[in-house]
Subunit: 316 residues, 4 copies
């Protein structure tokens, strides 16, 4: 039996020691420590790791950390929404997003051409500069072939972005496919539409891409889910693993509440009714903003995996 223990600060406390201490504090801190342990377990047991996240996380500074996670071999397949793609590209071209306030005067922001996402502002200029770039990129793709799956397209784009902190770049370089089941659900959709006006034989094949993700693993392989936030991305990784016999490990980090029956708020308890997870320790839900919780859980896992030589592309 495990007991709560009084937490005491010690000088120069590092993140790994704090997360260890969380393991004896209780409530969400205790779940966070279990999350960190579960990530280590996924890696040690050679699971294929499906990471899903929503676009607001790429709006935030987590973007560079996701890129680093890919480089270090901490995820094998990525599923996200199109906003993530757009903003990763914007940042690779040097665009910067402003840190502001949740209680802004939104009318004033509008007049300044600043679009608010929580306490971060994206300027309208950022969006218009994306347009020209995307049209050029789409033309290059089109010149290679006429029909693309989204994951192929994102790999090609990634190879063109010369930015170590870019998710698309690191994914392309490290053969981590990025799936985006709703590619038209953003300004990318508008740019694809514009491009197709002039190139009617340009095709995006979503059924083939679904084939790609369901063949990304098999019944025999161990599979782990790290779902940050909810929505289509979370649903897609759960679906993919279910079709392949269910995930062996599942970590959900979310702010949503399970009480409305939404998938975004669904905990890993609910996942047990759908899948094959049996061991309590293999299904962890952490409630809280991932900009705080995800770095903590990951850093603590990374420090351990480093000692065990389980990090890719890492030379100490």
């Amino acid at each position: 039996m495990q007991y709560t223990e009084d937490f005491i600060w010690k000088e120069n406390l590092n993140v790994k020691d704090l997360v260890n201490a969380y393991g004896s504090i209780g409530f969400q801190s205790y779940e966070l420590k279990k999350a960190s342990d579960l990530i280590i377990k996924m890696k040690k047991n050679g699971a294929k790791i499906y990471l899903s996240f929503t676009s607001n996380m790429v709006t935030s500074g987590l973007r560079g950390f996701f890129a680093q996670n890919i480089k270090l071999g901490l995820c094998d397949i990525i599923v996200t929404t199109v906003g993530s793609i757009e903003e990763d590209i914007m940042k690779a071209f040097g665009d910067k997003f402003i840190l502001g306030s949740f209680s802004s005067n939104d009318q004033e922001l509008y007049e300044r051409g600043q679009n608010r996402v929580g306490n971060i502002y994206i300027t309208s200029k950022n969006y218009s500069s994306l347009e020209a770039k995307l049209q050029d990129i789409l033309l290059e793709l089109y010149n290679l072939k006429k029909s693309w799956t989204i994951s192929e397209m994102l790999k090609e784009i990634g190879l063109k972005l010369n930015d170590e902190n870019s998710i698309l770049y690191q994914a392309a370089k490290n053969n981590v496919p990025i799936f985006c089941p709703a590619i038209t659900d953003g300004s990318m959709g508008f740019h694809l539409f514009l491009f197709k006006q002039d190139h009617p034989d340009f095709q995006v094949d979503i059924i083939d891409d679904f084939k790609n993700i369901i063949f990304s693993t098999s019944h025999d392989e161990k599979k782990g889910i790290i779902a940050l936030g909810g929505g289509v991305s979370k649903q897609h990784v759960i679906l993919t693993t279910l079709i392949n016999g269910g995930a062996d490990y599942a970590l959900y980090m979310t702010t949503a509440s399970p009480r409305s029956g939404s998938l975004s708020g669904a905990t890993t308890d609910e996942a047990k009714s759908w899948g094959k997870i049996k061991d309590e320790a293999d299904a962890v839900t952490v409630i809280g903003d991932v900009t705080i919780t995800y770095p903590l859980a990951l850093i603590s896992a990374i420090e351990t995996l480093k000692e065990d030589g389980l990090l890719k592309n890492y030379k100490g």
Copy 2:
């Protein structure tokens, strides 16, 4: 200036009177009354209404109400996720979902083949019976033509469902297009993949469907959003109206919190930084489970619209 007023129950109180009383109670009840007023305003001003909802709402008994809303002319364009489509079809074929508990023993449910969505259970049998039906339907579609947009496909399916309470059926009959930007994100995706194995020239064209939704309105037309829950569906209606100059009216009903920067939790305040909504009364956010709040807001609006002769297909 408006003041809170003591609410007093009167015998046989009807829903409309309760919602009126909410207008003087405060907190979310006050916002709910404003939501009801805003829907009336959208209709009276002839706005094109974009309704988005998530699939868990179709899992619930709201499904029949959405169908009725379409019939009565309370929405012009629908955006939802693929789970909604699947479950609407299941129910049209007579499948029934079980009312259960949020704190079930999920291991036991799994062994009984029951998949939990909040406090509702869907049996695995429901999913397998869907498979055969969908393969037949896809073959019929394929025999008509090889390339489909999703909204066309859903219209054809709707016409085949003989169920007054079906969303797809009512939408098809009343020329309300249904958009589903991530059609592969559910068992439908798997069935499309299976079908395409045997019919490789079958095509789903998502770019053309994006064209359909952005041409569903124009800068000149008044546009209203009713976004229930978040995710891709909410994003898609906001995007569509933005491309056409921004919505004139926006109602968000959600359980998510704005403090994580997610779109699902974004309030209509945030929308003001993105769009052109200027009048406080034209942007309303109601926090709460839509299975409770949406019927209240709508019923109250319907009773008023009925008196004003603004309901379609209604003979008193």
Copy 3:
């Protein structure tokens, strides 16, 4: 086994019929219907009903409804915080609270002397006019005797308020004691302090009042809890019933999340580990703003209790 059913609006739908329909919709609407049924069960089985609520609910228009609930015999003991007492008195003297916005410019409100509670504003003048009244009332009490329990004091005050919509008035008239375990936690505390400066032998006896509440019931009596919101008031009714063998019925209505371990967010599941509730149907938690959910659950119960002749002071 119970199934979800398609909800369909019918003309002039009344609240009771809507709540009945909720019983087949799912998620929180289903829990709300169970809440309504549980209240009926409490009354039919002659349980002593403990109602707790927080002061923001008295800021809202629920105040009059609570008063009516008392009059109709729907609660036997009340526990609340001191803000409820203060604002009930203010309103009994004619003060009015302004309906505003959650996203006000709070600096401007401050300059106008308006204090914001969510989307309701209380003016500073309201507080200063309370001061004179309270000093007079305290003097009258002091002239009767020197040492008071809080519940006695609140009864005396209630008898002086000539307002049918006042909680204190109806409670006094109907012999429903009001307990307020933290009487100094508001401007009342300051007024008690001022009064005691001039009348040092004035005493408030909280231990005697705790005796009063634990002797308000017994092991043998059936006991029901209706806890709206959390905090000290919720804790106090749970504690009182536990000391008397545990509640037989418990209904919690709250917006708080159970995942932080706070009592405010604790569901009735957690209560089962503390008490003697065994039957799933006797412990119901409804997540959502009580300004919406409480009237619904209560009105539906009231309409049934009326038919069964179980309402006090009601002449149809």
Copy 4:
């Protein structure tokens, strides 16, 4: 203008560096960095710091950290609920609380005599052993004098607890008064009642204790609030500072939502309408479980204050 920056893990990252990085990530991580800065500012400007917390935090391992915070001079006045007092004493006498699960079988826990608080279990035995100890302590107090304020009583109890990790012990040793406006709202209430049965002249004076807290500061002194969670404790520190002209700095850390109008969910925005806080940087709200967020914000502040020689009782 400040921009989001890509977060990149570096080896052996310590907590202070992570919190610094949070300052460029966005959403709640950005607010957490501001929280840490605000605590440093409070100390540097010599503010009197009012710390409030709820009892579930003392159930958790934060208890030892609160004790250490007092020792290091990071708070000057404490307000909490009676559960905190009881559990601090239990732990000082060696009782241990079990780490469990949010989705326990609560019926089984009840049969094992384990009472669940989130994912922590307290055994019924813990409560019964408290009884004997408290009766002894109350007798010792009674032998000193007959009438006590709660803060005096808690100081006397603290001096008897020989536990460095005890909140009461450190508070007593460091002259930090602990206020508990609802002392009867827990088993302490029951023990006080039992004791008074045999010692009817034993008195607890709450009005005098309210005098103590309002005289704990003045209009001239700078005042800072750190409110963890909500309820009576949060209300009491806000009230105390308001009576003395308002707080200069306010930090709220909570999981509750502002949208129900409850004080627990009220943000520091709302506080601006009540008080005198003008500078955006002096009012910070962090949404999230304090078992995760509070150690992060505090550790980061402590490391800085240490360098500046602003920690009490600290010898490097």
